[in-house]
């Protein structure tokens, strides 16, 4: 199967889906069919067989195929959810266009083109920010400006790395490269101190748009960062890059955990919990070891599943609680059972509570840390506790009436979706090997993990 289909099929389908937007079920069915076709194409694609886009090589390896299929599955879940909980007319067409561009960014070998495709996908995301109700204009600006500022930092990276290869004695080039990587990826991954744009966007945008940003965009950025570190080994050997990533991760985990504890608004709380989890991912990546990288990717995958669960639950609870329900948990469970259970389970998983998937991958990260590092362990545990407490405290706020509220019960497909995700989070928590072992093998096969970076 030609890899170009993964790029152009969703881009081509976005137009007809946009035209079908008034017939919502038809638009959802067409979007779902496209994503299912993408899963089939990606599953059958020949690994290592190149295709060419704008004269640049596209290649798929084991690891990137796994990530792409994960993105397509997550997108299909979002589309099914949007069928019963509409997320705005632009959601389905924008999602398809974004998937096409992100597929291209994941497969293309030229970093410069990958960043440009990523920036295009990010700009299309802007059309999702206003859902059925208007998002605050600040939310759109606070997303657009960091995106446009971050992209140039990454676009100059090939120039800097090539210059360093020609002039390895130039220490200034090392410094500029570390700064460019730190600012560019720091902004895109919402790592502290560049994290402040994410809470506003997640609070203002529809739940599935926020989930897309955290679950899919972040993973693509992470995959690109790992690719940069693999392709420029001098960055890990001769520069303080890994130290910067570790320090940034520690700060991100701490800031995310503390702000999550203090937060009452569910959207912002979700964003801070996601930021805290990104801190864990960066700390694991910063170790540079084989298991560190595996645990970083595994935690990033579990983070995506859990954030999607919380975002779906948040949307369901906001819409399907009766006004007179007040803050009675029993009454809330009658009207939005999936939403309430998913919110509690997702909150606990995001905080790394035992039995859930978040705990399993955190444990892996703790194990991959250098021995006897009490500071690391203390900060990471504190961050997790902050998130769990934040979710427990926010439960009563969640059950308050909201402007989106309707007078009907939560639809059955939404309940089934949410409970399935809860089940998956528990399964991966109890049997983490189901995810971690194949992921480690894939990273080894793709050459991303050898004896570390």
């Amino acid at each position: 199967m030609n890899l170009l289909l993964l790029v152009f099929l969703p881009l081509g389908a976005a137009g007809p889906v946009y035209l079908l937007r008034r017939y919502w079920s038809a638009a959802v069915a067409a979007s779902l069919a496209t994503v299912v076709a993408l899963i089939a194409i990606c599953g059958r694609a020949q690994l290592g067989e190149p295709a060419y886009l704008l004269g640049r090589e596209l290649v798929l390896d084991d690891f990137h195929r796994f990530l792409l299929i994960l993105f397509y599955v997550l997108s299909s879940l979002m589309i099914v959810y949007a069928w019963r909980q509409p997320q705005g007319w632009a959601f389905c067409p924008s999602l398809l266009a974004i998937m096409g561009l992100l597929s291209g960014a994941m497969m293309i070998r030229t970093f410069l083109i990958a960043v440009l495709l990523l920036e295009m996908a990010g700009l299309i995301f802007v059309f999702m920010i206003h859902g059925r109700r208007p998002a605050p204009i600040g939310a759109a600006i606070s997303y657009l400006v960091p995106l446009v500022v971050a992209a140039p930092c990454l676009l100059i990276l090939p120039w800097l790395t090539e210059s360093y290869t020609l002039h390895p004695e130039d220490l200034l080039l090392i410094r500029f490269t570390v700064i460019a990587v730190s600012i560019g990826f720091g902004i895109l991954l919402a790592a502290a101190p560049f994290h402040s744009w994410l809470p506003g966007v997640v609070e203002g945008a529809p739940p599935m748009a926020g989930a897309l940003l955290i679950c899919i965009f972040s993973q693509v950025h992470l995959a690109l960062l790992i690719g940069v570190l693999r392709d420029n080994l001098w960055l890990t050997a001769d520069s303080p890059m890994l130290l910067v990533i570790t320090g940034c991760g520690l700060l991100t985990a701490l800031v995310g955990g503390l702000f999550a504890f203090a937060q009452r608004q569910p959207g912002r709380l979700l964003a801070y919990a996601a930021i805290s989890n990104m801190g864990f991912v960066l700390v694991a990546l910063g170790t540079g070891s084989a298991w560190g990288i595996t645990s970083a990717v595994a935690h990033s995958v579990t983070r995506s599943l859990t954030v999607l669960l919380v975002a779906m639950s948040l949307g369901a609870v906001r819409t399907h609680l009766r006004r007179e329900t007040g803050s009675s948990l029993q009454e809330a469970l009658r009207w939005a059972p999936g939403g309430v259970l998913g919110y509690i389970a997702g909150g606990l998983a995001l905080g790394g509570f035992p039995l859930f998937n978040g705990f399993a991958t955190r444990w892996l990260i703790y194990r991959s840390l250098p021995q006897h590092d009490a500071l690391f362990l203390g900060v990471l545990v504190l961050s997790g506790v902050g998130v769990v407490l934040g979710y427990l405290r926010s439960l009563s706020t969640m059950l308050q009436p909201s402007p989106e509220m309707s007078e009907d019960r939560e639809p059955l497909p939404v309940t089934v979706l949410i409970l399935s995700l809860v089940g998956l989070c528990l399964l991966l928590g109890l049997l983490p090997g189901l995810l971690v072992t194949p992921l480690h093998d894939m990273l080894l096969a793709s050459g991303l993990v050898n004896a570390g970076l």
Partner: protein
């Protein structure tokens, strides 16, 4: 295309000092003045001047593509401003908003303040471009890049209006485009950067229209 090429070649005879002066004026107009028509004219002039500057580091056809894309961006923004009747209803809305918030501002970012900021950026740009040029030849490239990036970012920082933020972002992109052109001048990259520019303009157009529509809805409610 030939006429455009001839016109362009005639403009290419401008010295780097004249081009820098032109960019200084257009950038200052964008950051200082509020009138959308003047801002858009300044943006269009800036696109042409950047294109003329780029001919010195990239093939003529690629530079022409950049100018055509810049023209399309200006058209998108012009149609948006006309559609939301900027200067009419939107100005009235902003006027009432300004009146409400005037008392709460720490200090007013009025015309003189913005002019002072533009002057400061010009001085910093000159110093940076002279002491740390990223390319020595042709002259003026580094200064133009620093100036446009700086003034674009400050335009974004000094306003809360989404349309003006858009002008700032496009100016920033133009500055960065100069830097990118010095090490990557292939047509495919220029085309993709052009698509990014158009998407930024479309995003700004969408957000400006949405802001206006929601404001009108709120007023009606």
């Amino acid at each position: 295309m030939d006429t455009l090429q001839d016109l362009f070649l005639a403009l290419a005879s401008l010295s780097h000092l004249e081009l820098m002066l032109g960019l200084l004026i257009t950038g200052t107009v964008i950051i200082v003045l509020e009138d959308w028509r003047l801002n858009l004219w300044a943006l269009m002039a800036q696109v042409v001047l950047v294109g003329v500057l780029l001919v010195r580091v990239m093939p003529l056809q690629v530079a022409l593509v950049k100018i055509i894309v810049g023209g399309m961006v200006c058209v998108i923004l012009y149609l948006t401003a006309r559609r939301v009747q900027w200067g009419g209803e939107l100005a009235a809305t902003h006027g009432s908003h300004d009146a409400r918030t005037a008392g709460r501002e720490v200090f007013t970012m009025n015309l003189w303040f913005r002019l002072l900021v533009a002057l400061l950026v010009a001085v910093v740009t000159y110093a940076l471009g002279s002491r740390h040029p990223f390319v020595v030849q042709p002259q003026g490239i580094s200064q133009a890049c620093y100036w446009l990036v700086g003034i674009g970012l400050l335009t974004v920082v000094l306003t809360t209006d989404i349309f003006k933020v858009g002008l700032g972002l496009i100016t920033f992109q133009a500055g960065f485009g100069i830097l990118l052109a010095t090490f990557e001048n292939s047509l495919s990259v220029a085309a993709l950067v052009g698509v990014v520019d158009i998407l930024i303009a479309l995003a700004i157009a969408y957000l400006t229209s949405a802001q206006m529509a929601f404001t009108v809805e709120d007023d009606t409610a």
